[in-house]
């Protein structure tokens, strides 16, 4: 009887150990914090080009795809000219969702909105831009410092949508050019979308506009989404079925 009891106790201990261990070995949520709409997750690609900065970028013919949907938090698709972690400019569209935490855009609905954004010394500003979008279409976007004086203008198709006559003038004259698929809130697979398509990517130099000459992943922090490089001038952020282990070798944080 003692032997049977010992076996039972041993079995119980092993079982408990197994249960605890398996529980701890389960893939954990990426964010230990309670998810909120202020948490953001990005899949970012860049035209590495030796790390050389440029005066602007655009996507045209056909352009950046506009997704639909009803995110709880926000779903964004943008072009970004990135000087460093403190200075950058950005243009694209956003669906803010019902619980958005992007008060500078002021549109908690399910409609894709054009917006412009910039950051100076770690301080950010974003503004809704005029113009309407329809999900399922491609549009052109552009942000450039054409005068090479640090003053940036923001465009949707051929219309300047932000920056006025002078532009938004920041210390950044040039920068690395990026594409960004982004979602806010919960980062588990099945949460809000980070999907994006950029088809017709170009950079601006003193010689004029030219197609991207390279594309590579700069950062992937989004579970359930990954980067596909279809060509030098086309990349996509698309849904995958696996939980991504997150690959951010280079991106500032």
């Amino acid at each position: 009887m003692l032997r049977s009891l010992t076996i039972l106790v041993a079995a119980a201990l092993v079982g408990a150990a197994l249960g605890l261990s398996v529980s701890l070995l389960k893939p954990q949520p990426v964010q230990a914090d309670i998810p909120s709409c202020s948490d953001q997750y990005n899949v970012v690609a860049w035209m590495k080009d030796g790390g050389n900065p440029h005066l602007g970028e655009r996507v045209i013919n056909p352009g950046m795809y506009t997704y639909g949907g009803s995110p709880v938090c926000a779903h964004l698709s943008t072009l970004d000219v990135f000087d460093d972690a403190q200075n950058q400019v950005e243009v694209g569209w956003v669906i803010e969702g019902a619980q958005s935490a992007i008060p500078c855009l002021q549109a908690t609905d399910d409609i894709p909105h054009i917006f412009a954004a910039y950051e100076v010394a770690g301080s950010q500003q974003c503004k809704p831009a005029n113009g309407s979008l329809t999900s399922g279409q491609y549009d052109g976007y552009r942000v450039d410092d054409a005068a090479a004086n640090g003053c940036w203008k923001f465009y949707h198709n051929s219309d300047q949508v932000y920056g006025g006559t002078t532009g938004i003038c920041i210390p950044q004259q040039r920068g690395d050019i990026l594409t960004n698929g982004e979602r806010h809130g919960n980062n588990t697979p099945g949460a809000d979308s980070a999907a994006a398509i950029f088809d017709g990517l170009q950079y601006y130099s003193t010689a004029g506009w030219d197609g991207w000459n390279s594309t590579e992943l700069a950062c992937d922090l989004v579970n359930g989404y990954d980067l596909a490089i279809d060509s030098l001038t086309k990349n996509r952020v698309y849904q995958v079925s696996v939980t991504d282990p997150n690959d951010c070798p280079d991106f500032p944080h």
Binding site: V14, A17, L18, S21, V22, L25, Q28, V30, A32, S38, D39, Q40, Y41, N42, G50, G51, N52, P53, A74, L76, T78, D80, F82, D83, D84, A85, Q86, N87, Q88, E90, E119, V120, A121, G122, S123, Q124, Q125, C126, G150, C151, G167, I168, C169, I170, P171, Q172, Q173, R174, D176, N180, E182, H184, T206, C219, P245, N246, C248, D250, F251, P252
Partner: protein, 203 residues
């Protein structure tokens, strides 16, 4: 965030030891280990509409930067690199220096430098727009509507952005000015007077 993830990693390692002991006879633990996910070692990037703020101390603020000594950065930069006096409270010790070296479309060298001090102060420096003065830099920055134009104690025009004043309510304070062809951003989660004192002490 990072230290918390490391703690989690330690827990997972402890659980692995338990699992190895418990499943040694079963021989299936290798497969379980192979399928476990490693938590990320980095925070979400500061790309637009997220957490405002500055680079974490010790992290590369550039996409393709290098951590170097101040001497190496000084040799690479075609301008004087401003620093904080080592004795100042804004310094707190020797800064971590990050360097980005590239070429512009016209072939000219492009060098950006960031000094990250143990105190949390950051100096972000790059070539100024050709011909730009402190006055033009400050007035141009007014287009951002993020802060206000000020003057340093010697009368040098500058642009000040107050901490926790942008839409994220998490941004650092900053003072930006142009000194001898270099645009310098002094950045810290601190008060205007502290930043002004740091800007006044740049050497």
């Amino acid at each position: 965030m990072v230290s918390r993830l490391w703690s989690r990693t330690a827990l997972v390692r402890a659980s692995v030891v338990m699992l190895v002991a418990a499943l040694a006879a079963a021989g299936s633990y290798h497969a379980r280990l192979a399928s476990s996910k490693r938590p990320p070692a980095v925070k979400p990037p500061n790309l637009f509409v997220g957490q405002g703020g500055v680079s974490a101390p010790g992290s590369d603020p550039f996409l393709d930067g290098q951590k170097v000594s101040l001497d190496v950065a000084a040799k690479a930069a075609p301008y004087h690199i401003y620093t904080l006096p080592s004795t100042s409270s804004a310094s707190g010790g020797v800064p971590t220096v990050w360097l980005q070296e590239a070429k512009l479309d016209d072939g000219q060298a492009y060098v950006a430098v960031q000094l990250q001090y143990p105190s949390g102060f950051i100096l972000d420096e790059r070539s100024a727009v050709p011909g730009a003065s402190a006055a033009t830099t400050a007035s141009n920055l007014a287009s951002t509507n993020l802060g206000q134009q000020i003057k340093l104690s010697d009368g040098t025009p500058a642009y000040f952005i107050e901490q926790a004043s942008d839409w994220t309510k998490a941004n650092p304070a900053s003072i930006t000015t142009t000194l001898g062809g270099v645009t310098v951003e002094v950045i810290a989660h601190s008060t205007q007077s502290d930043l002004a004192a740091a800007a006044d002490s740049l050497a």
